[in-house]
């Protein structure tokens, strides 16, 4: 596709529910990133993939957060047993394989946990 896409754009979950957020990176981009953006804050790093390998998951806030990218393209961020503090916008980004330092962001998924 032309850009990074994410779905759903909005998700309302009841506390304790599991959610899955999807990211489609730009075609050919091997590196993929997930960020969490709380209201009024800048994005904070969650995890990073190069192809299907998860090379850095140091930003995942708890073991309830899990990310995967099994075929090296689409990625899913899963949050188990959601809590109210998980409410945020979840941003996905990808970088070009050729000298890529610039990250191209998707529109985000706004998660609201009630």
């Amino acid at each position: 596709g032309a850009g990074v896409s994410q779905s759903p754009r909005y998700k309302v979950a009841k506390r304790g529910q599991d959610v899955a957020l999807r990211c489609d990176p730009i075609s050919g981009h091997v590196s993929l990133f997930w960020y969490q953006q709380a209201l009024g804050q800048g994005p904070e790093f969650l995890t990073y993939f190069q192809n299907e390998a998860q090379l850095d998951k140091s930003g995942l806030p708890s073991d309830r957060f899990f990310a995967e990218r099994p075929e090296g393209s689409v990625s899913t961020l899963k949050i188990q047993r959601t809590q109210q503090e998980d409410s945020a916008v979840y941003l996905c980004a990808s970088t070009s394989p050729i000298g890529g330092k610039t990250q191209y962001f998707g529109p985000g998924t706004r998660l609201l946990v009630l």
Partner: protein, 114 residues
Amino acid sequence: AQTVTQSQPEMSVQEAETVTLSCTYDTSESDYYLFWYKQPPSRQMILVIRQEAYKQQNATENRFSVNFQKAAKSFSLKISDSQLGDAAMYFCAYLKNTGNQFYFGTGTSLTVIP
């Protein structure tokens, strides 16, 4: 740890005027990248401009330019001839050359007054 500080939560500018957004950062690295991203209310983060730390020349992109002061660890964004479409949140971001995760500031909300 790297930190990025944007000390202006809100700024306003008259249409056609010039505005400067401030950003400082803390790092012990000598090789890194700095970025300014724009995030309109639709939430898609868009790259405005980037600067490689090894380049002494300040980056420019049309009406957008930066004042990069490496010794002072300062990276301000100047927007000339401001337009209504420039209204957005602006985030400063840092990337270590050998790293993958961006470190973002808390953002500056820019209002453009007609």
